[in-house]
C-alpha cells in the first residue's frame, strides 16, 4: 500500500522548495538585492526605493565659455528632497571611457547644482560623457553624451572702432578674445536716431563691416555679437552684445515729429488763423452799420439832402425793419370819482394800452 502513496509524498516534498523559492522571489524581485537582510524589507520600503530609483534626474546643461572653462549645471530644485547629486565626466575614446568625479562643484542653497571644469579638462572634438548620480541611490543615474564644439559661447566682441573710408562710407571693426578669429561668425546691428528698429547684417570670418552710405545729420549706434559657427563648431548660442559705439551728429537728436510740428504745422496754422480773422472782419463790416461821425454831419445836408439812412450807411431794408410795425389800440380808462365829488376832477382820464402802459391826458 506504500507504493501508491510514494508519488503523493514526493509531490508534497517538491512543493516545499517551490514555496520557498516563491517567497524568496517576492522579496528579491523589487530590489534585486541578494543580501540576507532583504528578507526583512517591508513592502512599503521596497515600494519607496522603487519610486526613488525610477524618478528621473534633471538634465545637465554644459557650456564652454570662450574655450577658457566649462560650466555644467542642472536644476537642483526639481528634486522632491534636497539632494547633493554627484557628477562624473569623461571622454569617449574608441568604445570605452574613464569617468572621474567633478573636482569643483557649484552650489545653490547649499545643494550641488553644477560643476566647473578648467581649460585643461576641455577637449572640444572628443565626445564628452557626463553622468549625474544620486549618491543615496546609486542605480539612479543619468548619462549624456555631448559634442562640446557645439556648446562654445565666446565672450562679447570688444574695442569697436569706427572710421571713415570716404565721405559717406563708414567701416566698423572689432576684436574678439577667442584666439581663432576664423572660427567665429558675427552679427552687426545698427540704427540711426530716426529709426525705431535695428538693421542687422551677418559677417562671416572677418572682424569688420562697411556701411556704404551714412547721413552726417544722423546719430548712428552700432553693436556686435559673435558665435562659434560654422567652421569650427555648430553652436547655436550667441555671445552677449558688445558695448554700443556711436557715430554722427548730436543735432538731429530732435524727434522728427516735433520738427514737422515746428516747421510746418505752426506756420500753416497761424496763416489759417489770420485768414479766418480777415474773413470774419469782412463779414462784420458788411453786416454791422457804421456809427456816423459828427465830422461828416454837414454831408447829410449837402450831399444826401437830409436822407439819413443813405448818409449813415444803414441800408433801406435795415431802416425799414427798424420801423415799428406794431399798432396799439388804446383803451379808455376812467376813474370812478368818490361820493360828493363831481366827475372830471382829480387826475383826469387815463388811457391804458393792452401792454400796460399808462397814458395820462390832463
Amino acid at each position: 500500500m506504500l507504493k501508491p502513496s510514494l508519488p503523493l509524498s514526493s509531490l508534497l516534498f517538491l512543493q516545499l522548495p517551490l514555496l520557498g523559492v516563491g517567497l524568496n522571489s517576492t522579496v528579491l524581485k523589487p530590489s534585486g538585492n541578494e543580501d540576507t537582510t532583504a528578507d526583512s524589507f517591508s513592502t512599503s520600503e521596497t515600494l519607496e526605493s522603487l519610486n526613488i530609483s525610477t524618478l528621473p534626474l534633471p538634465e545637465v546643461q554644459c557650456f564652454v565659455f570662450n574655450g577658457e572653462y566649462m560650466n555644467c549645471t542642472w536644476n537642483s530644485s526639481s528634486e522632491p528632497q534636497p539632494t547633493n547629486l554627484t557628477l562624473q565626466y569623461g571622454y569617449k575614446n574608441s568604445d570605452n571611457y574613464k569617468v572621474q568625479e567633478c573636482g569643483h562643484y557649484k552650489f545653490s542653497k547649499e545643494i550641488t547644482s553644477g560643476c566647473w571644469l578648467p581649460k585643461s579638462e576641455i577637449r572640444l572634438y572628443e565626445t564628452f560623457v557626463v553622468r549625474l548620480q544620486d549618491p543615496r541611490e546609486p542605480r539612479r543615474q543619468m548619462e549624456q553624451k555631448l559634442k562640446l564644439q557645439n556648446l562654445v559661447i565666446p565672450w562679447a566682441p570688444e574695442n569697436l572702432t569706427l572710421r571713415n573710408l570716404s565721405e559717406s562710407q563708414l567701416e566698423l571693426s572689432w576684436k574678439n578674445r577667442y584666439a581663432l578669429d576664423h572660427c567665429l561668425q558675427h552679427l552687426v546691428q545698427y540704427r540711426s536716431d530716426w529709426d525705431s528698429n535695428w538693421t542687422e547684417q551677418q559677417v562671416d570670418h572677418k572682424q569688420s563691416f562697411s556701411l556704404p552710405s551714412v547721413d552726417g545729420q544722423k546719430l548712428y549706434t552700432f553693436r556686435v555679437r559673435s558665435r562659434f559657427n560654422p567652421l569650427c563648431g555648430s553652436a547655436q548660442h550667441w555671445s552677449k552684445w558688445s558695448h554700443p559705439v556711436y557715430w554722427g551728429s548730436n543735432i538731429s537728436k530732435e524727434n522728427p515729429w516735433l520738427f514737422i510740428t515746428k516747421a510746418v504745422l505752426i506756420p500753416v496754422g497761424s496763416m489759417g488763423l489770420i485768414i479766418s480773422l480777415f474773413f470774419v472782419y469782412c463779414w462784420l463790416e458788411r453786416t454791422m452799420p457804421r456809427i456816423p461821425t459828427l465830422k461828416n454831419l454837414e454831408d447829410l445836408i449837402t450831399e444826401y439832402h437830409g436822407n439819413f439812412s443813405a448818409w449813415s450807411g444803414v441800408s433801406k431794408g435795415l431802416a425799414e425793419s427798424l420801423q415799428p410795425d406794431y399798432n396799439e389800440r388804446l383803451c379808455h380808462v376812467s376813474e370812478v370819482p368818490p361820493k360828493g365829488e363831481a366827475p372830471g376832477r382829480g387826475l383826469g382820464t387815463s388811457l391804458v394800452s393792452p401792454t400796460g402802459f399808462l397814458h395820462v391826458t390832463p
Binding site: 572640444l124 564644439q149 576664423h182 560654422p230 569650427c232
Partner: protein, 153 residues
C-alpha cells in the same frame, strides 16, 4: 668683358634657386588659403546635403567618430569613399549628384600634415561604426570642423 662658362653656370644656378624659393613660398601660402577655401566649401556642401537626407539611400555607412590624433585625413577619406547615393527620384537628382561628387574631390594639403613627421597607424574604414545618412553627414561635418580648428591653431 665676357663671363667665363664657370661663372655663367653659377649665375644660372643662383637664379634658379631664387626662382624656386619664390615659387615654393608662393605655393605654400596659396596652399593654406586653398585648404581653408576647400574646407569651407565642404562644410557648405554637407549642410546642403542635410536638406536632402530623406532622398538618400538609407543604407548604413562607415561614419568615423572620436578619431585618433593624426588620423583625421585617413578618417575623412573613409567618408569620401562611402557609397552615399540617391534613393528615389524626387526631382533633385541632379543637384544631389553634383553635391556628392563635390564631396569626393581631393583635399589640398594643410600645414598640420607638413608638421607631422611620422605616419600614424589608423583604423581601416570598415572598423568604424556604421550609421544612417543623417548621422553620417553630422559626423562628417564634425570631423571637418576638427580639421579646420587644427589647421587654424
Amino acid at each position: 668683358m665676357r663671363p667665363s662658362p664657370g661663372n655663367m653656370e653659377r649665375i644660372v644656378i643662383c637664379l634658379m634657386v631664387i626662382f624656386l624659393g619664390t615659387m615654393a613660398h608662393k605655393s605654400s601660402s596659396q596652399g593654406q588659403d586653398r585648404f581653408m577655401i576647400r574646407m569651407s566649401q565642404l562644410i557648405d556642401i554637407v549642410d546642403q546635403l542635410k536638406n536632402y537626407v530623406n532622398e538618400l539611400d538609407p543604407a548604413f555607412l562607415p561614419a568615423p567618430d572620436d578619431v585618433k590624433e593624426h588620423c583625421e585625413r585617413s578618417a575623412f577619406s573613409c567618408f569620401q569613399k562611402a557609397q552615399l547615393k540617391l534613393a528615389k527620384t524626387g526631382g533633385n537628382e541632379k543637384i544631389i549628384s553634383v553635391l556628392i561628387k563635390q564631396l569626393k574631390r581631393k583635399l589640398p594639403p594643410s600645414n598640420t600634415e607638413k608638421k607631422q613627421k611620422h605616419k600614424q597607424t589608423c583604423q581601416s574604414c570598415n572598423a568604424y561604426e556604421k550609421k544612417p545618412p543623417r548621422e553620417f553627414l553630422e559626423r562628417m561635418k564634425s570631423l571637418l570642423q576638427k580639421m579646420i580648428h587644427q589647421h587654424l591653431s
